[in-house]
Symmetry: C2
């Protein structure tokens, strides 16, 4: 369980001013490693923060990504999803239920950036698609 104090600390480390809303969003991300969408974050927080607006959630995540505090995943065609774990790891998305899971334990070489391309590459995203345990039976 991560505390508000730790979220606060983590935000400062990335030079993000820790407002109440930002701390709440970061708190949620640190404790819910489910690659949530904007809507999921908003729905989870709004009961305890009734004045929270979805615009603020959008703004907040934009800042987090810009400052390198979270990763924006491009794996779900429907919505943007966010991951507070910025270390090199891959993702799996279930075509049945849409949930996104982490895949750690892959060879580090997978995440190497190819040389001899004409591009200035600064990020890699490795995604697997298929069906999760629950959905593969159906």
């Amino acid at each position: 369980m991560f505390t508000t104090l730790q979220s606060h600390e983590y935000l400062r480390k990335h030079s993000i001013k820790p407002s109440v809303q930002r701390t709440a969003v970061m708190d949620y991300l640190m404790n819910n490693r489910t690659h949530p969408t904007i809507d999921e974050i908003y729905l989870a927080l709004s009961p305890s923060m009734p004045t929270l607006s979805k615009t603020t959630v959008y703004n907040t995540l934009d800042i987090f990504v810009e400052k390198g505090a979270v990763r924006a995943l491009v794996i779900d065609e429907k919505n943007a999803r966010y991951d507070v774990d910025i270390s090199a790891h891959a993702h799996f998305i279930c075509k049945g239920c849409g949930k996104v899971h982490d895949i750690f334990d892959l060879k580090p070489s997978l995440f190497q950036i190819p040389r001899d391309t004409p591009f200035k590459i600064d990020a890699v995203e490795i995604s697997y698609m298929g069906f999760c345990e629950k959905c593969k039976g159906n």
Copy 2:
């Protein structure tokens, strides 16, 4: 240059009934390996097919993907992009101009599916983000 006859043939191979519209879209994809969006395809074809509707382009691409004739790329947060090359290769998206480029010549092992996951994985997508030659100067 791929001909309409070849597109026609390729559609049959994937058991897709080759209507005029479908053949035109496949033709475009085979001759324009630029990972086009729905809108780009629509705008390119509508001058010569004034009655073409964007709904048809959506329907068409859905069928192509479902039948395995084209790959839907999840790399561009704004729009879906389509690739008629279904072989194992990676993509690079430029954060400046948004263009998507192919990266061939990567180790085949990169595209291997990890065992010892609880998932039934049936596709891999490897994406690199950064700036292309033109945009990296700015």
